[in-house]
């Protein structure tokens, strides 16, 4: 039982990844696509942070005088820490594009913008 629960994080990663991916490919609304993309991204963050955990460990902030402390892995944390801030900046860039698309086409539904392109 515990053996299998140790994989629960990875299962949630897989499910979240695909929920986000579904929103990107199946929903024509562009804001919804971006929300899906950020769920997809968050799933990847979860995968990395899951890997950093060490049984019985604590956050990698070294305590002076404590010799036998176990620390979790700092490296995935560094990678994801910066990725979160980069993620919001790129999402904002996507939103700015959506705003301009709405100004140009009057819609943010993908099939409608494609139809408008074909009609020209």
């Amino acid at each position: 039982m515990m053996e299998l629960l140790g994989l629960y994080n990875y299962w949630v990663f897989a499910v979240l990844l695909m929920i986000g991916f579904y929103a990107v490919i199946a929903r024509p609304n562009m804001v919804k696509k971006l929300l899906g993309l950020s769920i997809f991204q968050a799933a990847v963050f979860l995968l990395y942070i899951t890997m950093d955990k060490v049984e019985g460990g604590t956050a990698p902030i070294i305590q002076k005088g404590v010799e036998d402390a176990i620390y979790s892995n700092p490296l995935p944390q560094v990678l994801i820490l910066t990725a979160i801030v980069v993620g919001i900046s790129t999402t904002a860039l996507g939103l700015a594009l959506v705003v301009r698309i709405h100004e140009a086409y009057g819609t943010i539904e993908e099939d409608e913008t494609q139809r408008a392109d074909l009609d020209e």
């Binding site: 053996e3 499910v15 929903r27 705003v99």
Partner: protein, 328 residues
């Protein structure tokens, strides 16, 4: 055992919230659920020992990204058009991929396994050598600022580039002198009809700013650093703009200053690298900054973290103002 039950509970809530985001027809609902999703994600990160990451996710995901999404929703339709076409194909593809991914997870090391390959590579070296080479308690900050300083410089440049992209697409009034600043939001604010957020907001803004500074300068000793501090600082200023109005906020930090902050932080980071080269070391090799290499490392990390904080705060604020000004 308690931790496992708690994290299973949090992760299940996470999946339910994600389903809610995708299913919600009203985009406003979806954005609000995204905020909850980020907060749950932050709690998860905390359970998994990633205090720094949890702090970042809480400030960026639950705070700023919700405001930015709402800013964008103010400029686009709020309702998603209902459509039934080509969903089945997408559903089958994602279901099959999920099954394949789930099958692959059985090869993964179990959660918390100390023998997992990821813990055998450079991580033990970082944990062992940091007290000797850098001598700051927070190993995450040491890796971020020193060992992997090139990566972090790259990330800062990406944030800066994304900010420049948004400003190109939406424009920031008053920044380059294209539109007069009087153009925007005269006295009208998003929260002007709500007394409680106004009073409480005015009360907490100074403390949020103080906390941002604490996170910035205490990042070597506890969870924190430039990325988190920049996001928290930007959140405080966004709250100020929501309460007092766009124009007031742009008077405190003018558009020109925002541009300078965006570029200046990255420039500060890069110049540290150039200074170390001028002093005879490698690019971003802080050892040469001081006669004592350990003190040099600490100086280098403090300065580059400051650069990171300034750029992140500048970019996030500029993006917010770009969206807000577009609405008027």
């Amino acid at each position: 055992m308690i931790t496992v039950v708690f994290s299973v509970f949090l992760l299940t809530l996470l999946v339910i919230t994600a389903l809610g985001v995708v299913r919600a027809q009203n985009l406003f609902t979806a954005v609000m659920l995204t905020g909850i999703f980020s907060l749950l994600m932050a709690a998860n990160f905390f359970v998994l020992d990633a205090a720094d990451v949890a702090l970042t996710e809480a400030a960026v995901g639950a705070g700023i990204s919700t405001v930015l999404l709402l800013g964008a929703l103010g400029l686009t339709p709020r309702e998603e058009r209902a459509s039934g076409a080509k969903r089945w194909l997408a559903l089958v593809v994602t279901a099959l991929t999920t099954v394949v991914l789930l099958y692959a997870t059985f090869e993964q090391p179990r959660l918390g396994d100390p023998q997992a390959p990821v813990h055998q590579h450079v991580a033990p070296w970082y944990l062992e050598k940091t007290p000797e080479l850098v001598d700051i308690p927070n190993v995450v900050t040491a890796v971020l600022g020193s060992y992997r300083g090139y990566d972090t410089l790259g990330e800062v440049i990406v944030v800066l580039t994304a900010g420049i992209g948004v400003l190109f697409l939406l424009g920031l009034p008053g920044a380059v002198g294209d539109r007069p600043r009087d153009d925007i939001a005269k006295g009208r604010t998003y929260l002007s009809h709500h007394l409680v957020p106004q009073v409480v907001g005015r009360l907490v803004i100074p403390f949020i700013l103080l906390f941002a500074l604490y996170v910035q300068f205490h990042g070597e000793y506890g969870p924190g650093g430039g990325f988190q501090a920049g996001a928290i600082f930007a959140a405080a200023m966004i709250l100020y703009a929501l309460i007092e109005g766009e124009r007031e906020a742009l008077t405190v930090i003018s558009p020109k200053l925002l541009i300078w902050m965006m570029a200046g932080g990255a420039l500060l980071y890069g110049s540290v690298g150039l200074v170390t080269m001028a002093l005879g070391g490698n690019f971003l090799d802080y050892n040469v900054l001081h006669s004592n290499p350990v003190a040099g490392q600490q100086w280098g990390i403090i300065v580059i973290e400051l650069g990171v904080g300034i750029t992140v705060a500048g970019v996030l604020l500029a993006i917010y103002h770009a969206f807000a000004a577009r609405g008027h």
